[in-house]
């Protein structure tokens, strides 16, 4: 097992390194000079450009820059933003919690909804209701998240005036304490609903497929032949076995949703990492982009390893194979 996990850790590490190299290469191959964008004027002051270029080490060859970047990285320094001058890690620390909260809540709700629906349909596999709901999830899958967000704003905020349109807090009011929490919660209902609708089909399909597969296993027939009630068979055995792929999916998804909530943050004007990223792209704020991408790929890699670890706990067969 240790061997198996260490192999996965290697893959994860490799993945982060490849991601970083790729990102660094892309950024340096790209046309467009960050200094020009930073200085702004059509005819910038050459001295200012000179100072800034030296300050950020942009006059050195890319390989030297990369070496320096990695060196700083190992000391926990992600560099300073070209635009605001703040350390990148501080910006990320400030923007990440909201994004994490959004991603976590969306995945959590989607797992429960999708899981329940999947179990419900798996029990009626092939039936009319199952086929209908199956087609319905394809419809959900086909709705572009940003469009859905806009339509929800249109319906619930603009027309019905039930919920706030965008932002994280009501600017005109200054709530404190519980009222503040309530206000934020109200602002988050639509973004979370949008995200959940987008990923529910994924969990629905995973759960449905694995429950159907488990129901077809031979040991289920053993349990039936032994007189165990369908109820008990389902909750103790089918569910226990069917949950494995879902757990795997949750872990990976959680990491991807950090990037996946970008569009939702933009549509709803939420000050998370995703929406800040879009601004940074247009500003050519390279250290920030690198930092963001690093966080993203590290979290994917870490989740991958966590999931593998969970997998070995849940499925004794993996333990065996890897020994």
């Amino acid at each position: 097992m240790a061997k198996y996990l260490s192999k996965r850790v290697m893959t994860g590490l490799l993945c982060v390194i490849v991601a970083l190299c790729l990102n660094f290469a892309l950024i340096h191959l790209a046309p467009g000079d960050p200094i020009r964008i930073l200085v702004g004027n059509k005819e910038p002051n050459p001295e200012l450009v000179q100072v800034l270029t030296e300050k950020y080490g942009l006059d050195q060859p890319p390989l030297v820059q990369f070496e320096k970047y990695i060196g700083n990285l190992l000391h926990g320094d992600l560099g300073d933003s070209y635009y605001t001058g703040e350390p990148v890690q501080d910006i990320i620390k400030q923007k990440l919690p909201l994004t994490l909260f959004l991603a976590g809540t969306m995945v959590f709700i989607a797992v429960i909804l999708g899981g329940l629906l999947g179990v419900f349909c798996a029990k009626r596999a092939g039936g009319k209701l199952d086929t209908f709901l199956g087609s319905f999830t394809y419809l959900f899958d086909s709705i572009p998240g940003y469009w859905l967000g806009l339509m929800l704003i249109l319906l619930f905020a603009s027309k019905l005036k039930l919920l706030p349109t965008t932002g994280l807090i009501s600017i005109r009011e200054s709530y404190t304490g519980f009222a503040h929490v309530l206000d934020v919660a109200k602002h988050l209902i639509l973004p979370i609903a949008t995200g959940v609708i987008g990923i529910v089909p994924y969990y629905f399909r995973i759960t449905r497929a694995s429950v159907i597969q488990q129901l077809g296993e031979d040991f289920i027939v053993t349990l039936r032949a032994a007189g165990m009630s369908e109820h008990k068979i389902f909750y103790k055995y089918v569910f226990r076995n069917a949950i494995i792929p879902t757990v795997t999916a949750v872990g990976i998804h959680l990491a991807y949703m950090i990037a996946g909530s970008t569009i939702i943050e933009i549509v709803f004007g939420l000050p998370g990492l995703g929406s800040y990223l879009m601004t940074s792209i247009s500003r050519r704020d390279y250290p920030l982009l690198m930092g963001f991408y690093l966080i993203l790929s590290v979290s994917v890699a870490v989740m991958m390893i966590v999931v593998d670890f969970l997998y070995t706990l849940l499925d004794p067969r993996v333990r065996h194979v890897s020994d």
Binding site: A225, A226, G227, S229
Partner: protein, 326 residues
């Protein structure tokens, strides 16, 4: 005394646009203490019969007709609850693919305990453990097996565990559905010899489903021959094997090398293939391949004819006396 009485029993598999009559009006009496071997080629309905009797077939894709009396109660007419009480406690099954019989993510001990508790919910953990260890000893397995996962056991060990599991509640009937087919011949014989001993000890009635004539010859008191979903011949093994009445029984015997060797030394292959059960037919299903067949065989369904009250066959032109290899 009959312990299991199967009457006019039929099973159909329902496809999208077809119906397969997998078991066709079978009548079979299983007497207490008289082990029965059910033989037939694949697709003869031998497994379907027992799965149908135990109502283990998918109810949406199959249809069961007829009656099956266990101790005077019709298993087919029972409520699910009543049936649950009979399953395993009275009739238990050893399945073919032992590898898949156990839940892959639970230990053997957990799985066995769960099944035990279905019927004896109040049983204490310690008692159950002791009981399980004794059972494992009965099939020559160490008690460590209880702590292991299915993938950690060999095929033979799994099959032994599966047998131990089936004996857990001291059932009256043990159905072995191709239980030893996947094992090598030596392990197979070992296990079956052990079963014979256990059978006497626990007063079990064994129903052994197999495609292997030699297994039935060595390990069963009676034999029932199936073909295309129908019972062809049933009787005491020595009677039927030495002096088969149904031409199919004879051909099946001849097609086994172990039997042919001490006779003519050649294996005789049965010409043709089994009829398509999706299409309705009249007469005897074996008529197309049978050397004795007449026009009557193709048109009229043979009824049960008796040689004596334990030996009967379904044929218009039964073989007269003589040995199978003549």
């Amino acid at each position: 005394m009959s312990i299991l009485e199967i009457k006019d029993f039929s099973v159909s598999y329902l496809g999208d646009d077809y119906v397969v009559r997998a078991v066709d009006q079978v009548n079979l009496h299983i007497e207490e203490g008289v082990s029965l071997g059910i033989v037939g080629e694949s697709g003869s309905g031998k497994s379907t019969l027992m799965l149908g009797v135990l109502r283990l077939l998918n109810e949406r894709t199959s249809k069961t007709e007829g009656e099956a009396f266990f101790a005077g109660n019709d298993l087919i007419a029972m409520t699910r609850k009543e049936l649950s009480k009979v399953r395993w406690a009275e009739i238990s099954v050893v399945f073919q693919k032992a590898m898949n019989v156990f839940s892959p993510v639970h230990t053997i001990g957990t799985f066995l305990t769960d099944i035990y508790r279905v019927h004896r919910p109040a049983a204490k953990a310690k008692e159950i453990r002791k009981e399980q260890e004794e059972l494992l000893a009965l099939v020559n397995l160490p008690k460590q097996v209880l702590k292991m996962y299915p993938h950690e056991l060999s095929g033979g060990m799994l099959q032994r565990t599966s047998i131990a599991m089936s004996l857990m509640l001291r059932p009256k009937i043990l159905v072995m559905d191709e239980a030893t087919t996947a094992l090598d011949v030596i392990t197979q014989n070992q296990i079956l010899t052990e079963i014979l001993e256990i059978e006497d000890k626990l007063q079990l009635t064994r129903i052994l489903i197999t495609h292997d004539m030699s297994v039935v010859a060595n390990f069963c008191k009676k034999i029932a021959v199936f073909y295309a979903g129908r019972l062809m011949e049933v009787g005491f093994t020595e009677d039927v094997l030495i002096n088969p009445k149904h031409p199919y029984t004879r051909d099946l015997i001849k097609s086994y090398p172990t039997f042919a060797e001490d006779g003519t030394g050649t294996v005789v292959r049965i010409p043709g293939t089994m009829i398509d059960l999706k299409k309705p037919y009249e007469g005897c299903p074996y008529a197309e391949r049978c050397s004795q067949a007449t026009d009557r065989c193709r048109k009229e369904r043979p009824l049960e004819s008796f040689v004596n009250n334990s030996w009967s066959y379904y044929c218009h032109n039964p073989l007269e006396g003589g040995r199978a290899d003549e």
